[in-house]
Point group: C2
Chain length 340, copies 2
Amino acid sequence: MIIDCHGHYTTSPPQHREFREAQLAWLDDPSGPAPERPDIGDDVIRATIENGQLKVMRERGGDLTVISPQASAMAHHVPDPGVAREWAQACNDLIHRVTGLFPEHFAGVCQLPQTPGGGLDDVTAELRRCVEELGFVGCNLNPDPSGGHWTSPPLTDPYWYPLYETMTELDVPAMVHVSQSCNPAFHTLGAHYLNADTSVFMQLVETDLFDRFPTLRFVIPHGGGAVPYHWGRYRGLAVRMGRPDPTERLLDNVFFDSCVYHQPGMNLLLDVVPRDNVLFASEMLGAVRGDNPDTGASWDDTKRYIDRADLPGADRDKIFETNARRVYPRLDARLKAEGR
Amino acid sequence: MIIDCHGHYTTSPPQHREFREAQLAWLDDPSGPAPERPDIGDDVIRATIENGQLKVMRERGGDLTVISPQASAMAHHVPDPGVAREWAQACNDLIHRVTGLFPEHFAGVCQLPQTPGGGLDDVTAELRRCVEELGFVGCNLNPDPSGGHWTSPPLTDPYWYPLYETMTELDVPAMVHVSQSCNPAFHTLGAHYLNADTSVFMQLVETDLFDRFPTLRFVIPHGGGAVPYHWGRYRGLAVRMGRPDPTERLLDNVFFDSCVYHQPGMNLLLDVVPRDNVLFASEMLGAVRGDNPDTGASWDDTKRYIDRADLPGADRDKIFETNARRVYPRLDARLKAEGR
């Protein structure tokens, strides 16, 4: 089967977006009652998926997408902890509705109620709720809740350990994924996302985080930012710094998704990153929509690029299925229970 | 001939570094006299180059390096304008000593006395001094003088126009190059440098800066950060944003150096970026030193990767020489005057 490990519910119903707007308006003027979550009918949710992600999956040949709330809308820069908690719960409950309506095709990954500099109690509680009560298989972890000001400590800092302890206990990975940029220097989709991927990889090169958390697993999205393109730079830098070669040290714990939107980039990813460490993903419907005028194919039809890379069958199976089942063991367990 | 467009004087004499330390100490306690620049003998400078950059150029087969002060030591985050001016002048004067001692092998590119949020009068004055009095052929422009806090406006903001007017008048390009990171989230060499390259390219995608400055030229170092690896992402994003395809719009003004430290990365760069837009560079002696254990060759021997890419002769000439002569016309004029 073909598992896409990186999808977002970018087609969420307008009622959900209106709730968010009302929530932010209420933050500005809390004199009235806090807004209540909207009633959204199953048919509304079903239509957004059937005409969106599922339609594209069927066209391209995907079986299951690991779906999470829209990343750019997580907006962890909004500092109110109550609003962050309520917004994350609303987003995650909506993902749960999607996975309930289409259990064959979607598994949930949760948004965490992070805030800049905030404590992690709400974060770990929401992760636990989503995994234990809603059946989610992972989380998205934002290394920069400030939204482009990078005021939080590196992901290797003890600040984050309570989350890692919960992730380890629940045996779920995190995709490292920032949200919208509030810094005009960084375009959200064209700079901030990729910079975060690059920065976090280097944070991991610098430290021994996985000595402390040997089963902790991170998926670095967007093909790993700049990392595979600069694979030699990272190997050389690590040696110069007296650190282990990342090609040996990090690969039990760090994985790259395949959201690279042209054939040469995909070829590079598959050439330099060990194939045990690449997970198929398209981030569909995501940052880049539309077709490459040179090929007529969708930019984000990453399956097409992998197909054309002409890998041995065993490597294809890893990238399309078995790596994801290994990194997301709760997904694997669910699929096995379903006989898949 | 083979022109390396990206070298730094990372082997500068200890007296120069001691002057900087004294300068920073004086900033902390300005009760005594300001430190004076050291006398450094020609033989000292000659030795640093002959045993450093020039030795490696001879080993690898390079003819001329466009050399600038050590990038990580520019330290534009230090906010005192007088100290920034004095430090930039000291660094640039030292580069001028190098180019005077080895005119056959080096051409100068200057450090600008930038400060976070500071005015650009000193910046344009120092650029003019270096070009008109010292014979420099370009400058390094730091898009983030804060050193990892990204508090300056994007390079497309009118804030920067006075510099662009001077660059245009003098007909010199800028290499977009940050300095050391003061933000623990960003490793200087493994994240901050690459993030800056990526971010600035996207700033340029977003705007029509080159309508206003049609002859302005930027060299984006480190192989363009994440950009060539995500070439499809940028093309698709631009179309989605209603912007021109960057492969058509930006290539009269934006160039990528070849500081990519492994063969697959170099192959990708040469595959996706038009060969009129790639300039040979190694950043030697720079971020990554030492040898790839798999090949026994130096990580930053980028000439080796280009040689092995087996390009047609005309494309090799562009990348090794003629693109640099086009982007740095003052270098071309000097070489022509020397009959080279």
